[in-house]
Subunit: 421 residues, 2 copies
């Protein structure tokens, strides 16, 4: 028998209780022991009477109760959750959490505390997709060469709509908010921060690398325009907010940003609110995992899968597997040194010499143009130029764009989207 105390009975928490109740028999058989949702801790005791478990508004009813074997933390946020999880582990309880923000900052410390007890967080990345187990177990024979994830359903829904229906960012954001796919303050999602938390977790499993959100390149989708969509379609690309971890020559690059991806690539086919993660291993090649990245039931499915794994005795650490080492002593690459191909959009006055001046700036920074598109425009005062480049360093494209921005025929800050092949 394994007694579980659940802290937080929101959408995910109440779904966890329902799964443990409704699928009790099959879960017991799979876990090898009976798993009992013994108590739920909530702020408002009135609210969850119908769930059929003992309720309390005092966290110590879980943490101080020695009969509770496992704590499921589902309150979110960093500081309070950190104190709770830390205390639970110190008390010798195993812990399952869906809290990506907590893990983005405290994963190594908490894992060390968990030492020998179970500490599961499958639900913290990509909802119901068992991507953590895939990296940790299914692909364990491989050195991971790259991870590319569509990890934020809100952004993916919005970008899919923009491409399929040609609507603007502002229009689709409003619609997403009305449908409940985007928060009233959508910054955390559309700014790429949510995806960055998840990326750090995946990168820790693949590479054992300890980085924080502040350390990595994060750009959101708020600057994507109808022109970008036009270019993408014209050249056979899809636009996705990608979270990327990539290994090359002893370094790991971690970045979150919108990316142009060729339509033939499987990950470009992950549309709408769905999530998808493509992982390339040195022997297995590419594998891809697809499913619901959010929602109470899908996320709870991942929480309960961790509960079952721990009940079956799997308590080995998740991050960097058995040892807390950075494999191959990998270090994080400097943002400026990240190499990519770029798509660049700029708005200029249509006059003689424009293209020559822009080209010479690209040349100055060793950036070579791969394709160029000028949309015919009735408005001589505002013509859009679209470029794509061959591979170059982040620092060079940034310098080139800043230099181009100062030219007097350039009407607004040029913008760029990275191209991922």
């Amino acid at each position: 028998m394994l007694k579980v105390g659940i802290i937080g009975l929101g959408t995910v928490g109440s779904s966890v209780v329902r799964i443990l109740q409704e699928n009790e028999e099959i879960i017991s058989a799979r876990a090898g022991v009976k798993i009992i949702p013994a108590i739920g801790v909530v702020r408002n005791l009135e609210k969850h009477q119908d769930l059929g478990i003992v309720l309390s508004d005092n966290i110590d009813d879980i943490l101080e109760d020695e009969s509770i074997d496992m704590v499921v933390e589902l309150i979110g946020g960093v500081e309070t959750a950190y104190k709770i999880v830390k205390k639970a582990l110190q008390k010798g309880k195993s812990v399952v959490t869906a809290n990506k923000a907590l893990l983005a900052y405290h994963r190594y410390e908490l894992q060390q505390l968990a030492n020998g007890k179970g500490f599961g967080f499958e639900a913290s990345v990509a909802g119901g997709i068992p991507i953590i187990k895939a990296l940790r177990e299914g692909l364990s024979a491989n050195r991971i060469l790259s991870i590319k994830g569509i990890l934020n359903g809100t952004c993916n829904y919005m970008l899919t709509k923009m491409i399929e229906e040609g609507v603007s960012f502002e229009e689709v954001l409003k619609e997403a908010q009305e449908l409940g796919y985007a928060e009233a303050d959508p910054t955390f999602d559309i700014g790429g921060f949510d995806a960055s938390h998840k990326l750090l977790i995946l990168a820790s499993i693949a590479y054992g690398i300890d980085a924080k959100p502040e350390d990595i390149l994060i750009e959101g989708i708020e600057g994507i325009t109808k022109e970008d969509i036009f270019f993408a379609k014209e050249f056979g690309y899809s636009i996705k907010l990608l979270a990327i971890a990539k290994k090359s020559e002893g370094k790991v690059e971690l970045r979150v940003h919108p990316a142009l991806i060729k339509k033939e690539q499987m990950i470009s086919k992950v549309d709408g609110v769905m999530n998808g993660v493509s992982v390339v291993g040195d022997f297995v090649g590419e594998t891809l995992y697809y499913g619901a990245g959010a929602g109470g039931d899908a996320t709870a499915s991942a929480v309960v899968s961790d509960i079952i794994s721990i009940a079956r005795g799997d308590a080995s650490p998740m991050l960097g597997f058995k040892k807390l080492v950075s494999f191959d002593n990998l270090v994080l690459i400097d943002k400026d040194d990240i190499i990519s191909e770029y798509y660049v959009r700029m708005s200029v006055v249509d006059e003689i010499g424009v293209l020559s001046k822009i080209s010479s700036i690209f040349s100055k920074y060793d950036i070579s143009i791969d394709s160029f598109l000028q949309k015919s425009s009735k408005n001589k005062e505002r013509t859009t130029l679209l470029f794509s480049t061959h591979k170059c360093k982040e620092l060079k494209i940034q310098k080139a764009l800043r230099s181009i921005e100062t030219l007097d025929f350039v009407k607004e800050k040029p913008s760029m989207i990275r191209i991922e092949d």
Copy 2:
């Protein structure tokens, strides 16, 4: 330290050795113990000298050596492999195998023998895709509602070519054979038998159901024509060889056959030699797993992931999890009772009354027509009629087709493809 004896050093076996050698450090860290490829048993000792492991042509050098902890069986085929695996388990060794045919017939018996020791077979289904671990661990909170797999790369390559390039079955088979994607005798692949073995393994994990290939509906892709491809494109379908396990009302249906799938579905986007498996769970919804289904390195990646899992102490049974029970006492549905929508193609003499006579036969068997397409033809003696039906039982469509076949204006046996929504 875990000493592994490998029986069979073909493409997969020699790749297993290379992974264990090249990724030794990372694998040791992940497994928590050093894993040593101690000995390889081969028929021809001359052939594998360059692999850098001890070779023998005597299986007893593995089976009778008490210092060998684990046997990796990679010789394929049923009878000899069965004896080897059985003896290894009886000797108290753990076993990892990639042998789908062995498992299609002996999986429950072998698992029972393994009792408490590790018995892994991730590599037996879908090559490098960790679909067995996903079903067994990642989705363990769920009742599995359905599994739909593209599990045979040869068939998928051929069908993709037929759709993309409009070539005939015969042409593409010849090409696949030249490229090494299809065997000289391709029956095992294109007849659906390979996929059926894999399906039985997946269905055992999801449902604990004990069936043999002979018990289930298996149809191959050899009857797919250019007309079928035309219809599929016209109505927005892709054609895939699908292996399907589905649960409904206490019964499980298992079947392998070509299927029309709406192009919007993620699984219809799995093209070429790649494999993909879509799994629907009662809480998680649909998740999909994609990757290389064959090839030495990808398959070896799965073999080694099992070795690592067992080294880490995961020895719980794979099939039906902890207990060898059929969950909910599920039984296999009778083939005749399987319900589907159908696409039907027939070749007729173009004369008055044809459609009315055919329609009346469909009516007689309670089959209702969903769509109908008659291609304009210059040849009055041979016109193709294409129908799609609403849902009906297998037995009824079979009877209707046999009845239609006897009409004198019908020029050849009508053929049908099931439609999977």
